[in-house]
């Protein structure tokens, strides 16, 4: 009897069933709150032809960027891809298909995917290249475009704490896209810094209910910082 225990014991088990040409939705913003070790496992497996849905695509040697050298990514849906030389090279050469999607639209598309909303209207992107090929319609005299939901075969998520039932708590801005990603995967895999017993988290403070989580693993994280900006200690 497994009940609601979602804990798996290896990254191999965590990503079991991921095969070529699948769609993977990833949480994270820049390098903050990314599922580092789940990404490494995808690299190790060598899965190819992936469609990745993520706000960013990491940097050359960290985050989703590590999947670029072996050409594991066929297509990426992202809002900002500016910090990655290999990425730019593959995109310019046409080896990589990039679907630029406004950040808020991307977040809402993931949420819609998890929430059984097949499509929604938004003013974001009206009159821009993003609107090309999309239905346009007026509400209260303003133009909106129709954006469709995104779901993934897998969603990979980084949370701070979880109980064994997969109830998740995120920390600071490492939350970002992770809660929406968690809802939008057919199989949602979550790695966390700490796993506690069910009942230890206050039910009012759970950010993602365990119903969205299929597999859970505790990992250790590098948490690389992209731009280390500081002020002098004595400055108020």
């Amino acid at each position: 009897m497994a009940g609601f225990n979602k804990v798996v014991s290896s990254y191999e088990e965590a990503m079991a069933g991921l095969t070529d040409n699948m769609t993977v939705i990833s949480g994270g913003f820049g390098l903050c709150g990314i599922p580092e070790n789940l990404i490494s496992e995808i690299k190790r497996k060598g899965t190819k032809g992936l469609t990745l849905v993520s706000n960013n695509c990491g940097v050359d040697d960290f985050g989703l960027g590590v999947l670029l050298p072996d050409r594991q990514i066929k297509k990426i849906v992202a809002s900002y891809v500016g910090e990655n030389a290999e990425f730019e090279r593959q995109m310019m050469s046409g080896e990589l298909d990039v679907e630029l999607t406004p950040q808020g639209t991307l977040a809402e598309k993931m949420r819609a995917g998890g929430a059984g909303i097949p499509a929604f209207y938004t003013a974001t992107g009206v009159g821009t290249p993003v609107a090309i090929g999309k239905d346009e319609r007026q509400f209260n005299g303003r133009d909106y475009i129709l954006e469709e939901a995104i779901t993934g075969d897998f969603a990979i998520v980084k949370a701070w704490k979880a109980d064994k039932y997969g109830n998740l708590v995120f920390r600071r801005t490492a939350r970002n896209f992770n809660p929406m990603a968690a809802t939008a995967g057919k199989i949602t895999v979550v790695e966390v810094e700490e796993i506690v017993e069910p009942g230890e988290l206050n039910p009012d403070e759970i950010h993602t209910p365990g119903i969205y989580v299929n597999r859970l693993i505790q990992g250790t994280f590098e948490k690389r910082i992209e731009q280390r900006t500081t002020r002098p200690t004595n400055n108020k």
Partner: protein
């Protein structure tokens, strides 16, 4: 003389009002936070999921889990709140942010803005800019009035792919503060020592010039 980056930020900061929730874009807009007028409080929204962005951390305070939309390490101000990206853009798209300040490559007389892509040259993505310009009612664009080669960035029609259509009403350049309405630019203020003629010369789109154009004071 053309405004410095700090002066642009300083002039924008005068548009802040007490109790404003403000989203500041990367670059010059970020500097606006340094010039909040005395006696008023504003709260900064960072679209990666933070309302109440504080100053940069000390070395000891650095937290990899706490960054702003520019991916810089930051701190939280008193009374800050954290939320996910869908909630953050619900806030932005829903018009709850009082003022948005962001940069651009071009704006035109119809309030169009191009800021995210130079075909064949620069393709980094729009990030949250399209959501910000579509969601906000009150936007100030900051940019240089013209390119280094003297090409105007205030146009009859934007030449680059648009970030947003018909959504910009105020532009602060290094030379002038300009309002966009009824398909025209309207000159509101000029930078200290910059002549109306100079502004007219560097403004490609139709510019309405009132009899008196006050000079900004710093």
């Amino acid at each position: 003389m053309a405004l410095s980056r700090d002066q642009i930020a300083q002039r924008v900061a005068r548009e802040l009002q007490d109790g404003f929730y403000v989203n500041l874009g990367i670059g010059i807009p970020t500097l606006v936070a340094n010039f909040v007028p005395g006696g008023i409080e504003v709260m900064l929204q960072s679209e990666n999921g933070l309302l109440g962005m504080g100053q940069f951390p000390t070395e000891a305070e650095i937290d990899a889990d706490l960054i702003n939309a520019g991916k810089q390490t930051v701190t939280m101000a008193i009374g800050a709140s954290i939320f996910d990206s869908a909630e953050s853009f619900a806030m932005i798209r829903g018009g709850h942010v009082d003022l948005t300040v962001l940069g651009a490559f071009e704006v035109d007389v119809n309030g169009n803005i191009a800021s995210y892509m130079i075909p064949g040259k620069l393709i980094k993505g729009m990030g949250g800019a399209m959501d910000l310009v579509a969601g906000a009612d009150n936007i100030i664009v900051t940019m240089t009035h013209a390119s280094k080669h003297g090409d105007s960035k205030l146009l009859s029609n934007c030449s680059l792919p648009l970030t947003g259509k018909g959504c910009i009403k105020k532009v602060l350049t290094d030379l002038a503060f300009i309002e966009i309405k009824e398909g025209k630019f309207h000159l509101l203020e000029r930078a200290p020592g910059v002549s109306v003629d100079e502004i007219v010369k560097l403004t490609e789109g139709e510019l309405v010039v009132p009899t008196n154009v006050p000079e900004m004071q710093f």
